[in-house]
Amino acid sequence: MRFLLNKMIKDNLLIKGKKEKSEIFHRRFFIKNRKGDKIISIYWFSILFIVAAAIVYMVASFYGEPYDVREVEANILTNQITRCLTNAGYVSEGVFVGGFLSEGFKTNFRDNCHINFETEDVYGWKDTEQFYVELGFFDFNSDTELGKIVEGNINLKDGCLMNGKNSPSCIDRDFYVIDEENNQYKINVVSVVRKTEKNVQ
């Protein structure tokens, strides 16, 4: 087929005798074109490799990173403490005694609020707690401090001032409560979760 085509082209050129056309349909042109094909295939493979490298990089960077759940965890911790301190909008029984924070409640805070800061024994977490909780109790009108509860690893609090993905996750929340005698209180809860090694690469 190609042979016939070549012959026809050749004949046609001979009849017409045009120099320009003879250059276009000359065998040399096809040889030149085959070189071009090779160049195109190298170009095509290089494009393919670039696309593949981009996909591999994106997938590896997305799925290689661990799921960072520290912020959610800190929020849940704050919610748990809030639920523990309040009951239907009123401050829970036993939190305040004589207008001040109860010492009994403070001492048994973890038991009262069902909190357990034990973690898995990896990355030296058994020796250094991965949580920190700070509660401030204030008179709503005068802003006088009525008591304070500090639990967990206090060193984590400094990490809240730092920026960056390796710093612990901190949630600072205030809420307003009243007691049965309509005394108004402001409670500040700071929850900090570290667990950096399992949440950040």
């Binding site: 190609r2 042979f3 295939s41 493979f45 393919l48 593949a52 996909i55 591999v56 997938v59 590896a60 799925y63 661990p66 799921y67 759940v69 959610v72 965890e73 849940i76 911790l77 919610n79 748990q80 973890r110 038991d111 069902h114 909190i115 357990n116 800061f117 034990e118 973690t119 898995e120 990896v122 949580f131 399992k198």
Partner: protein, 132 residues
């Protein structure tokens, strides 16, 4: 006669080149797809995802709660690796462990001081978490 043979050879060369080119492309793309699928649906990823998810669910739960979790992909992956659904997810003290491979597992702790138990309901095909 010679030119016919030459042309035939040329055609054979073009065909072989094209076939090699297509095969190389297919091999290349299948390796790429294998990599993507192994990364996205890997046992290690599922272990991390579900251990953290279960730990967070327990953190936000309260006593006398029953939670049902549909984790079809966990059951499938565990079975593929010869691990029973009841051994795939376990809770010891306050640590959730998901194990979907022979070598390796992923654990994550929860701070809620409750006593949860987890078991696989083979009838429903779901995991049931009971908070006491």
């Amino acid at each position: 006669m010679r030119s016919i043979l030459k042309n035939k050879n040329k055609r054979a060369n073009v065909l072989t080149e094209n076939i090699i080119f297509i095969i190389l492309n297919l091999v290349f793309l299948s390796i790429l797809m294998l990599f993507v699928f192994s990364k996205t649906g890997g046992a290690a990823i599922l272990e991390e995802k579900y251990s953290k998810q279960i730990a967070l669910i327990i953190d936000s739960a309260e006593p006398v709660m029953a939670i049902s979790l549909d984790m079809e992909d966990v059951v499938k992956t565990a079975r593929d690796n010869g691990i029973g659904p009841n051994d795939a997810v376990s809770i010891t003290d306050n640590i959730v462990t998901v194990k979907l491979r022979d070598k390796g597992s992923y654990s994550y702790s929860f701070f809620n001081d409750v006593n949860p138990t987890i078991k696989f309901d083979s009838r429903k095909g779901t995991y049931e978490i009971f908070i006491e």
